[in-house]
């Protein structure tokens, strides 16, 4: 397989006395969908936040495209082509859909030295991308606050897909979605992956993970039990692993050399 886009080496993250991540190593490759699984509080969100520049790891190394990367703010990650759908969506209810869609990445229209927010362009793209995801908006100026939870999630996903040039991180993107929107998201993951983009997909749903995942990493209490390839692990085994690793001893064999 191709070289990893991101290598996370021995990442630790402490919040005061809470150890959220106790040394997690994962590598993410272009063109794969890497599923991140684990119980509530396992550290999945914390882990991807170190990848998207929200948290600075307490220790450990992030290698992005072969070079050590020091993301000090989310903007650095976004500029590097890493887009994230956070579990608690980064959406602002009082702002319109298109203002939200382009928040932090506003398209610019130049008049000599004066640079303006290109609202027409923003509105057009927003409507188009939302339609692709199966959501018909009343208009691009509709406030996000008036959207349903699932519709908001879809805006966040459409936005990340639009801006995720190299890596797309989805933290439980399907948790509030209906059947049609979920299959849309899974299909989008598949499509994006085929374009060579790396997808990091966090979910609690084994069937969703199995449907699109190429590799699976399970986190448990801030640690990883290693990464399994598709075909090396059955849905039942994955389910057991996520449940907290009680049956871990019997499953270690099936994780095989990748532990």
């Amino acid at each position: 397989m191709n070289d990893p886009i991101i290598q996370m080496k021995n990442i630790q993250k402490h919040f005061g006395s809470v150890i959220a991540l106790a040394g997690v190593s994962v590598d993410i490759r272009g063109g794969e969908c890497h599923c991140l699984l684990g119980d509530n509080g396992a550290g999945k969100s914390t882990f991807i936040k170190t990848m998207s520049g929200v948290h600075k790891p307490t220790s450990g190394e992030i290698i992005f495209e072969g070079k050590p990367m020091n993301f000090t703010r989310p903007r650095d990650a976004i500029e590097a082509g890493i887009a994230t759908v956070h579990q608690h969506l980064a959406m602002i209810p009082l702002m319109s859909v298109s203002r939200n869609f382009f928040m932090g990445n506003e398209p610019i229209k130049k008049f000599g030295p004066i640079r303006l927010f290109d609202h027409d362009h923003a509105n057009e793209i927003t409507m188009r991308e939302m339609k692709k995801m199966g959501i018909n908006l009343r208009g691009p100026d509709q406030a996000v606050g008036t959207l349903s939870g699932g519709e908001r999630q879809t805006v966040a996903i459409a936005r990340a897909v639009h801006f995720g040039a190299k890596v797309l991180i989805l933290d439980e993107p399907t948790s509030a979605l209906g059947v049609r929107q979920t299959s849309n998201v899974l299909a989008t993951i598949d499509k994006v992956r085929k374009q060579g983009i790396a997808v990091v997909f966090i979910t609690h749903n084994v069937r969703h993970a199995m449907a699109v995942g190429d590799r699976f990493t399970v986190l448990n209490r801030g640690q990883t039990h290693g990464t399994a390839m598709k075909g090396e692990i059955t849905p039942e085994e994955l389910q057991d692993l996520m449940a907290g690793g009680q049956e871990l001893a019997t499953l270690e064999g099936s994780l095989g050399g990748t532990v």
Binding site: A90, M103, N105, G145
Partner: protein, 370 residues
């Protein structure tokens, strides 16, 4: 693009009224109309609507507008500045100290004052952003610190709290007229000659029009309103202002430099306060330690009447300007109508409450909360 939204038959067309309600300026527009109708009916003969009267409430409104623009953008970005009033007093005093006591050329005094005040704004912002304390508390501290200096410094140096002679010191200066001059004198002279506006009938200004020009203060007010509105609605930075106040964490996670935005808004607020102060000392010719008292609240009230949410993330500069206009017209209108001026405060309290309740209701509509 028009057929895009027609794809979902469940989406009910929003009624026009509801849509109009969602514009932040609505309250300001309705209030402005109401105020003019009211005074038009009850105080038309009071002189409020002749040239002098119009100039009178226009100048007062313009003063409110200048500080309201700063307060508005700052409030939308999610913060308050309670030190605006003290900043006005402080800035005026600095100009007097530099330009009169120390005898510096007026333009240097003005520029240095701007630098000092904007730096104080930046300090306010920096402390708020770095400590995460509510701006209410931080700027309350600045309110006292600046007011204290504004009294202490002239008292120590000059043994008084009012310093005059600013107009004389500004004589012939190239920068001072930008704040203190009046423009359009020929037009007003012509209007006076044509009899469209009244002229003085006796005294040493006999024959001159009662209104002899538009003070630069009003030009500043208009310029700042246009600039603020443009910045907020037309630029990328405007989107960042909304985002910072709407939800700072969400904005940060999306790559908006929230801290920088907030600090710059504090600086802009300080800039507006300084513009106010310079115009004021140029008009009065003196600086007083008690200048600008309570101005911070008047600015905030104008902004809230103009439809901005106290919690940030929503508002309009045009709305704030209309709020300032309502403020100015009512304050001066009650004076023209001969109403006891203390009633103005009653009015202020009532309208503030009404505006906040209306805004909360509008917010519910926008965010779909029930």
């Amino acid at each position: 693009m028009s057929d895009v939204s027609s794809g979902d038959e469940r989406i009910k067309e929003m009624s026009k009224v509801r849509k109009a309600l969602m514009r932040p300026e609505l309250g300001g527009i309705v209030g402005t109309v109401a105020v003019f109708v009211f005074f038009g009916l009850f105080a038309f003969d009071s002189g409020m609507f002749n040239a002098q009267g119009i100039m009178n409430w226009s100048v007062v409104s313009a003063q409110f507008m200048i500080i309201a623009v700063g307060a508005c953008l700052l409030m939308i970005s999610g913060e308050f500045d309670l030190s605006v009033g003290s900043m006005i007093g402080f800035a005026g005093m600095m100009i007097a100290i530099f330009g009169v006591t120390l005898g510096w050329p007026m333009w240097i005094a003005i520029l240095v004052t701007f630098v000092i005040c904007v730096a104080f704004g930046a300090l306010n912002g920096y402390i708020v952003v770095k400590t995460g304390l509510p701006s209410f508390i931080v700027t309350l501290a600045t309110l006292f610190i600046l007011r204290g200096f504004t009294i202490f410094i002239p008292q120590t140096i000059e043994r008084k709290t009012i310093i005059g002679g600013i107009r004389e010191a500004a004589e012939g200066d190239w920068l001072a007229p930008l704040f203190g001059a009046k423009i359009g004198a020929p037009i007003f002279n012509w209007l006076g000659d044509m009899g469209i506006i009244a002229t003085f009938e006796r005294g040493n200004r006999m024959g001159e029009p009662v209104v002899d020009g538009i003070p630069m203060l009003m030009v500043w007010a208009l310029g700042l309103v246009i600039f603020g509105h443009w910045l907020l609605t037309r630029t990328r930075f405007g989107n960042w202002i909304f985002a910072s106040g709407g939800d700072a964490d969400a904005a940060r996670n999306s790559g908006v430099p929230v801290n920088a935005v907030k600090i710059q808004m504090f600086m802009f607020t300080a800039f507006c306060a300084t513009v106010f102060a310079v115009c004021q000392v140029m008009e009065f010719g003196s600086a007083g330690a008690d200048r600008g008292l309570l101005k911070e609240f008047e600015a905030i009230i104008a902004v809230v009447i103009g439809g901005a949410l106290l919690t940030g993330g929503y508002g309009s500069v045009i709305g704030a300007a209309l709020g300032a206009l309502i403020f100015g017209v009512v304050q001066q209108g009650l004076f023209f109508a001969g109403v006891e001026s203390s009633l103005f405060r009653v009015f202020l309290g009532v309208i503030l409450l009404a505006a906040v309740i209306l805004n909360t209701y509008i917010r519910r509509i926008i965010t779909g909360e029930r």
